[in-house]
């Protein structure tokens, strides 16, 4: 039997987390948030995301029509607020369903 090399665990963790970033972000945007506040909210709920990953992701999701954005000036500098679009809300429902199925399947596999 061939010798199996030790897998690069940190990278595997990263890949696992990367797969759930989109659903995590969409799940927190029922109410409008700007990039920094969203990052804080996700971190507070145990899902820290690097700023260099999150901010471009918001723009890409907006480009895909899943988010809508607008500039607002409230208590501070101008900020771009993002919220789910109709398509984003539908995508979130579908992804949430798939996620629950996946969790159930994985629980069965992992025992």
């Amino acid at each position: 039997m061939g010798q199996i090399a030790e897998p690069p665990l940190p990278k595997l963790d990263l890949e696992l987390r990367r797969g759930v970033l989109t659903i995590a972000v969409l799940s927190q945007l029922a109410e409008p948030q700007y990039g920094y506040s969203l990052r804080q909210a996700l971190a507070a709920k145990g899902m820290p995301i690097e700023e260099g990953t999150l901010y471009p992701l918001l723009r890409r999701l907006e480009g895909q029509g899943l988010l809508e954005s607008e500039w607002r000036i409230e208590d501070g500098p101008p900020r771009r607020y993002y919220a789910l679009s109709e398509a984003g809300a539908a995508a979130l429902r579908r992804l949430a369903g798939e996620w629950r199925d996946l969790v159930s399947t994985m629980s069965g596999l992992l025992g």
Partner: protein
Amino acid sequence: MDAQTVIESYVRDVTQRLPRRTRADVALELRALLMEELAARAAGRAADEAMAVELVRGFGAPGEVAGRYRPAAPLLDAADTRPFIMAAIAGALVIMAGVAIAPAAGAHPHQAANAATGAILGWLGFLFVVFAARSWAQRHWPSLTAWRPHDPEKVSRAASLALVAVIVLGIVCYGAPTWVAAQFTGGPVPAWMTTVAYAPDFQANRLPWLFGLWVAQALLILWVALEGRWRAPTRRIEAGLLLGVSLALIWFLAAGPMFQTAAVDHTAKAWLAPVAILMLVYAVWKVAKLSRPPAPPMQPGASSLAI
């Protein structure tokens, strides 16, 4: 440099890599977010240069971040990396081998080296265009470029007959060039044909060997066309004949002149050298491949995950 300048230079470096129409908008947002992150890290203190540099380094290299904002399709697919490198190395080796032989064929070594540098760069450029076009086609027309099952041992009879016709044509053209020219002109042989006349020794003692090998190749192709598919013995004969042809061409390069006129002889050998070497490399690879024992067929019930 203060923290604000660090942030500004970083935002500029990121947005310069983005499409012009999105730059201002992304810059405005990115600057605001980075300033907010910086203020949070400073926690009430005045942010300094070191703090700003640490923040933007953590954010990522500008090219990488720009790629996250606007992921672009790669010019070459990652899966093509190995074939590209192998083709580049094989082509470069053939060209360099041509340079090594060129002085023997009468070319000046310095000129040959210069020509080789240009040829290698040209080869790399050609490969890049071919692979990039293939990647582009695969992305734009996935159904056209989708994998289809094929049997590499099955032969097309029409293609086989066409190949035999090409071989016969080659034997006639190389064997009796003046006769062929006379058929086209309908009269006397053009004067320039005398400058490309074969050296008598080459025509009498070496060229017939090549024709013999070509005839054998044509007969083999006809035989395989009749059988309908390649089999292990015919594949071995094919590789042996290919090796024979490549060795014959190298013999032509190394033995005396092929043409009576020295300039024509030098030019012909300069063209023949890379062809002969490429063919030899391919023939050796084919022979080596056929020499390897075939993989045992999978037994029914055997685990497909066995290590």
